[in-house]
Amino acid sequence: MNTRNISRFGLLLALALAGNSQAATLTLKPADGMTVVGDVIQVGQGGTVELDLQLVLASGDALPGHYGGEILVSYDSRYFDFNGFTPDGTSYFCDPLPPAGCAPIVSTTGFDETVRFGFENAYNTNVAGTLSFTATAPVGTTAALGLADADDFFGTFLLYDRGLAPYEGLQFSGASVAVVPLPASVWLLGTAVAALAARRRFRHTTG
């Protein structure tokens, strides 16, 4: 193997490693306290869905350090109401900058609704922030919350450490939410609490 072949082999190895280190996925993960069956979040009608925006690394991935970009969350406006995004150590950026400062921008076209915002200085696999929705879909509906880079041409995600560089190969993954009837135990508990309250009131009145 001559020098040129060694160099090429080294280059291919470096590219393979680089590619491997950039196969991370930015996901909408169910926040603590959410009920999950399989990969589907279970929530009652009118319940709150909380989703952590978090990077998940595949086996062998390298930690990216600081990173940031602009995301687009898409959903059916009949099924979800957007409550807000709580950053966790990250800062917003937006383009263009509105007079009131940066905030998620909600856009609606028909039933298609999107939430768009940029965040800077997320770090490794830390939670970048938490999205909150109210599930308004009818019971029995399973609905999706999509996640994508806000710019599907150039991409917006950058790695920050030392200099800026495109976050090549970053994948995006949304969430599935099933609106379910409230469990029987909730009905039993509610009935019991109501009965106790009624009994106390009755005794108080008669005593």
Partner: protein
């Protein structure tokens, strides 16, 4: 009443005191070296001296540096053409003597030889040898005029910003100081103009830079910058580096790359640095391969030079060369042994002024005997840190 008299005396005396103070403070700077040292201190601490003193120093150093000839012994004493009436003599050709002998000129071995290259004063008819015997090498991407915006970029096809060295070309790079527009001018190719009026957002970083994102669309055309920037007090970008992209969303055709940009140091700033004989260290990461750290030292003076080294986990190499105006150009004989010198070059430009952000934008195109060809671009910052300042001067 006493208070009124005292106030009157103070009012009358104050202009005199102010003038005396100004004279005294100006008088503390006596030599070019003092001036250079003061300007260097002013670069990091704008309150180090009054503006009048700084301006006086700049003028003084600019005048000192205005004569690029060495002070040699006058040869007029032995030159037969130095006397009165020499201009009418067929034996003499005045200042043209260095180009060709006069018609009736006969070589006199008793006379000292006329230097190969000289500069002559038509009034005194005295000639002095020029210091630079050979012209400096031409910057491969052209020269950057002092005091003008200047930058370099890599160019690749697609949106990935980087590719193999063989598929990467170099370009001159320029951008609006508010980040709203940029132009990439590749070697031998058509200029790539971004859409105009890109909107920008700036967020802080913890490394002395800010992150500027600029994005714009005009129909299917789209451009963007993602840059580390240093801005002045009026939010104008002084230094910038990293990612540029431009393309068409409909056809998906795009070009992208990395860049380093700023405003070349002015002639007055260069004169001040050269007159002070200061050495300034610069360092920073390269943009294409961020694992490469570059460190360069510029030795200012009568014949300013530079040296540098580039260190990567897989390799390192060194280079050196000359400084011409604001340009830094490598000399083949100054590459380290692991560089194929005749296939390699480094070009850079000094950026910024005393009192502002300073740096070097540069490109490297080197072939290493073990690793092959490397093309990269980088923005380096001057290394000035409190009591262990890396700026040194020799009086």
């Amino acid at each position: 009443m006493k208070t009124f008299r005292l106030l009157t005396i103070l009012l009358c005396a104050s202009p005199l005191m102010a003038g005396a103070a100004e004279t005294a403070s100006a008088g503390t700077v006596q030599s070019d070296a003092d001036c250079a040292a003061l300007l260097e201190r002013w670069a990091t601490d704008p309150k180090a001296a009054p503006k009048a003193v700084i301006n006086a120093c700049k003028d003084q150093l600019a005048q000192s540096a205005a004569l690029p000839v060495a002070a040699t012994a006058p040869i007029a004493a032995t030159d037969p053409c130095a006397g009165p009436g020499a201009a009418d003599s067929v034996l003499c050709w005045g200042p043209w003597a260095s180009v060709a002998p006069a018609a009736g000129f006969r070589d006199d071995p008793a006379q000292p030889p006329i230097p190969d290259r000289e500069i002559c004063d038509a009034r005194t008819e005295q000639c002095q040898p020029l210091l630079a015997a050979s012209p400096p090498p031409e910057p491969p991407l052209g020269s950057c005029a002092p005091g003008t915006p200047c930058g370099f970029a890599t160019v690749v096809a697609g949106t990935s910003s980087s590719d193999d060295a063989e598929d990467t070309t170099f370009a001159r790079f320029d951008m609006a100081s508010d980040g709203s527009q940029f132009t990439v001018s590749p070697e031998g190719g058509a200029a790539i103009d971004s859409v105009s009026g890109m909107t920008t957002s700036v967020t802080p970083r913890d490394d002395g830079y800010e992150t500027m994102r600029a994005n714009g669309r005009a129909g299917d055309e789209q451009s963007r910058l993602a840059a580390r920037v240093v801005r002045d007090g009026e939010d104008q970008v002084e230094l910038a580096a990293d990612v540029w992209s431009h393309g068409n969303r409909s056809t998906q055709a795009a070009q992208s790359g990395y860049f380093a940009w700023g405003t070349a140091t002015s002639q007055a700033g260069l004169d001040a640095l050269n007159a002070g004989n200061v050495s300034v260290n610069f360092s920073g990461p390269m943009s294409v391969d961020k694992n490469t750290t570059a460190a360069m030292t510029v030795d200012f003076g009568t014949n300013p030079t530079w040296t540098g080294n580039w260190t990567n986990p897989a390799y390192s190499f060194g280079a050196g060369g000359v400084v011409t105006g604001a340009d830094l150009i490598s000399l083949p004989e100054q590459f380290t042994e692991n560089v194929v010198a005749d296939q390699s070059f480094v070009q850079g430009v000094l950026l910024g002024e005393p009192g502002g952000a300073r740096g070097i934008a540069h490109i490297i195109d080197v072939t290493l005997s073990e690793q092959g060809r490397i093309k990269d671009v980088g923005l380096l910052r001057d290394v000035v840190a409190g009591p262990t300042a890396q700026v040194t001067g020799s009086p």
